[in-house]
């Protein structure tokens, strides 16, 4: 494939709270591609997602991260979001006192404004939100509730996908969006994600389970271990991992 390179990560090292977590990670994502990132617990998958989204406290110590040719590390999280990066959080945050509707409208308009589009008024936003909620089969009542407050695990994940559907990002990073979903919800969420797939949009799908990849079929699968990509392959790699687990890393190819 020779489409445009959207994200280029080279020799990325990052630490949080004094711990070296990423130790020389390379990853290239082209426009239109879906990459799955798998790997053992604690290997650094969420840290990679956080580096891309710009979480304060995760410090990039070496390497480079280019998004559409721009140095991502220098950009504020909100700027990244407006430029089309979206992180579906592994653990969405509960924010009491701010309604989901208010939040989503503020977010949508911040992004629209940046893209030179007209901001949506309350009515227009509501009809947009309604359409997107249908996509993820979310109850409208969730909109008047505080952000994620008291949402079930599955509801939180749907809310992430709803946000993604509304913001229409260019590069989506889904951090275990499938965890905690029942079979039906998995199908619904996957449909939401797939509806965004296009030749321009790319995705990094972090998951522990092959079953998500049945729905969202990846172009590439990577194994992250010890802060590095230790193996990459096509979609069949996920199946292999499902059978073998990660025991091979210590003994074989991927030992850090």
């Amino acid at each position: 494939m020779s489409s445009e390179i959207l994200l280029q990560v080279e020799g990325l090292c990052a630490r949080a709270a004094g711990n070296e977590i990423l130790r020389g990670l390379d990853l290239t994502v082209r426009a239109g591609e879906v990459h799955a990132v798998m790997g053992p617990n604690g290997s650094g998958k969420s840290t990679l997602a956080n580096v891309l989204a710009g979480r304060p406290g995760v410090e990039v110590t070496a390497g480079k991260v280019l998004y559409r040719g721009r140095n991502l590390v220098e950009m504020a999280p909100e700027e990244r979001a407006r430029e089309g990066i979206f992180l579906a959080f592994q653990y969405p945050v509960e924010i009491p006192g701010v309604t989901n509707l208010y939040f989503l409208k503020a977010a949508a308009n911040a992004v629209r404004k940046h893209r030179g589009l007209e901001e949506l008024d309350a009515m227009d936003f509501l009809s947009l939100a309604r359409r997107k909620m249908k996509l993820v089969e979310m109850d409208e009542k969730m909109m008047s509730r505080a952000i994620n407050e008291g949402f079930s695990g599955g509801e939180k994940k749907r809310n992430e996908v709803l946000q993604m559907a509304i913001l229409e990002p260019v590069l989506s990073i889904l951090d275990e969006t499938d965890s905690g979903l029942d079979i039906d919800a998995l199908g619904i969420v996957s449909r939401g994600v797939n509806s965004l797939r296009s030749a321009e949009r790319s995705m990094i799908v972090i998951t522990h389970y092959q079953r998500l990849l049945d729905h969202i079929v990846p172009d590439r699968v990577h194994v992250l271990a010890g802060g590095r990509i230790v193996r990459s392959g096509g979609k069949e790699l996920a199946l292999e991992l499902e059978e073998q687990g990660y025991a091979w890393i210590e003994g074989g190819a991927g030992a850090a």
Binding site: P77, R80, V93, I95, A110, V111
Partner: protein, 443 residues
């Protein structure tokens, strides 16, 4: 002994009584004399006084404040509008430097024998409804600040709601301070008497026009007869040079409901001293408070709820945002008298500290002399939730907006309790604007 300006006030009283207060009815004259005698005896409280441990009145005690000159002539409607007062269909009474300003006020005709007006006009009347009420809840012998106000107040608002009458729209009382060249003091005084089963909402709005060293020594008395309900907003947004020392004294008869919202946004030094006595069975008292302080502001909420009779319920919800070197004090005393069985008292104080130098002293105090009671209290100190900030920013919301959203969420828990929607919205706006002036914006 520390030197204070006590003599300055005592010496000034003679002239004040002969001129400004010459028309006082005899009972008030006697009350004032009692008050100044009391003040002469005690002077300002010092930090040796347990109730003033965290708040230093020294600089105020040492300053000889002059009674603020009349200034209503220099104030126009445009000035008032610039201060963006809440707009609702209510009666507005404006006092400038402690004196009624009829040209700025907009009293509305109220039905049902409601007596409302300025104290100065009501006092000389032979049918003065104030005798026996004024000075009965805020007694000159209880402390220096109430004594000082009692000795020197010249005006303020009085409201008497007859039995069974319900006033739907709020009474908005604006106490406007216009500081002069010299350090000035004003003495606003509010009296609310709610008859049996009556209902009213009163907003006291303390605000400054321009800077300068000014001291507002305010007293508010509210008497609730059986089954009455009063909602009381006390909004303090004076200039950052101002000292605001306010006392609110409430007495509640059987089954009455008092609900207060004490909001402190301005002033260099603020002290809100609230005493509510639940003096009849089944009375309900709710004190809500919100404060925002930055730079070197000091804000002290000092509350006492006195459960004197059985089956009383009280709730206190105080929250605040402190930035820079600001200091907050919350002291909540709950007294349950012998025999006040089945009392339920709840108290919480939550603080958001935006800077490492900001400080809060939060001190609950329970004095319980009955056995069948339920009391609880809790306090917390925290920062803006970093994870929440990142979550909002990760959706494209800029940092300043993200912070303001979280602060608004923090304050909404308090303002949500304000009964009248239009009033709540207006206060929400004021709070948000004030919170945005903390470092949140700079960061």
């Amino acid at each position: 002994m520390t030197r204070d300006a006590r003599e300055h006030y005592v010496a000034g009283f003679g002239q004040f009584a002969e001129r400004e207060a010459a028309g006082d009815p005899p009972w008030l004259h006697a009350l004032r004399k009692q008050a100044i005698a009391r003040f002469a005896e005690t002077g300002f409280p010092t930090r040796d006084d347990e109730a003033w441990r965290y708040t230093n009145l020294g600089p105020i005690a040492r300053t000889p404040f002059e009674i603020a000159a009349p200034a209503s002539a220099v104030i126009g409607r445009a000035d008032l509008e610039r201060l963006s007062f809440p707009v609702f269909a209510c009666s507005v009474f404006v006092f400038v430097n402690g004196r009624f300003a009829p040209s700025l006020s907009a009293p509305r005709a109220l039905a049902g024998g409601i007596q409302i007006g300025n104290l100065a006009a009501a006092l000389p009347s032979p049918l003065c409804p104030l005798e026996g009420h004024l000075g009965s809840l805020a007694r000159p012998d209880e402390g220096a600040l109430v004594a000082l106000n009692t000795a020197f107040f010249t005006d303020g608002v009085m409201l008497h709601v007859p039995a069974g009458v319900e006033i739907e729209t709020p009474i908005h009382v604006v106490y406007l301070s216009v500081p002069g060249e010299r350090a000035t003091i004003s003495y606003p005084r509010t009296l609310v008497v709610a008859g049996r089963g009556s209902r009213a909402t009163v907003v006291e709005d303390f605000v400054s026009l321009g800077g300068g060293v000014a001291f507002t020594n305010a007293v508010c008395e509210i008497a609730l007869a059986e089954g009455s309900a009063v909602e009381h907003v006390s909004l303090q947004r004076e200039h950052e040079d101002a000292a605001h020392l306010g006392a609110i004294r409430v007495r509640q008869a059987r089954d009455s409901r008092y609900k207060a919202h004490g909001i402190s946004l301005g002033g260099r030094l603020t002290r809100n001293d609230v005493l509510a006595i639940l003096d009849g069975p089944g009375a309900d008292c709710e004190l809500n408070g919100f404060y925002v302080a930055s730079d070197a502001q000091h804000v002290d909420n000092h509350t006492t709820i006195d459960h004197a009779r059985p089956q009383g319920t009280s709730r206190e919800f105080y929250k605040g945002v402190l930035d820079d070197r600001a200091r907050g004090v919350f002291s909540g005393k709950v007294i349950v008298r012998p025999g006040a069985q089945k009392t339920s008292a709840q108290q919480t104080n939550k603080n958001l500290l935006l800077s490492a130098d900001a400080e809060i002293d939060s001190k609950p105090q329970l004095e319980i002399f009955a056995d069948d009671v339920r009391c609880s209290h809790g306090s917390s100190i925290g920062q803006l939730d970093e994870d929440a900030l990142f979550y909002l920013r990760a959706r494209g919301i800029d940092l300043a907006t993200a912070r303001s959203l979280l602060m608004r969420a923090f304050s909404a828990e308090i303002t949500a309790r304000i009964g009248i929607g239009a009033l709540r919205e207006r206060i929400d706006e004021l709070l948000l604007a004030r919170m945005l002036r903390t470092r949140a914006e700079a960061a």
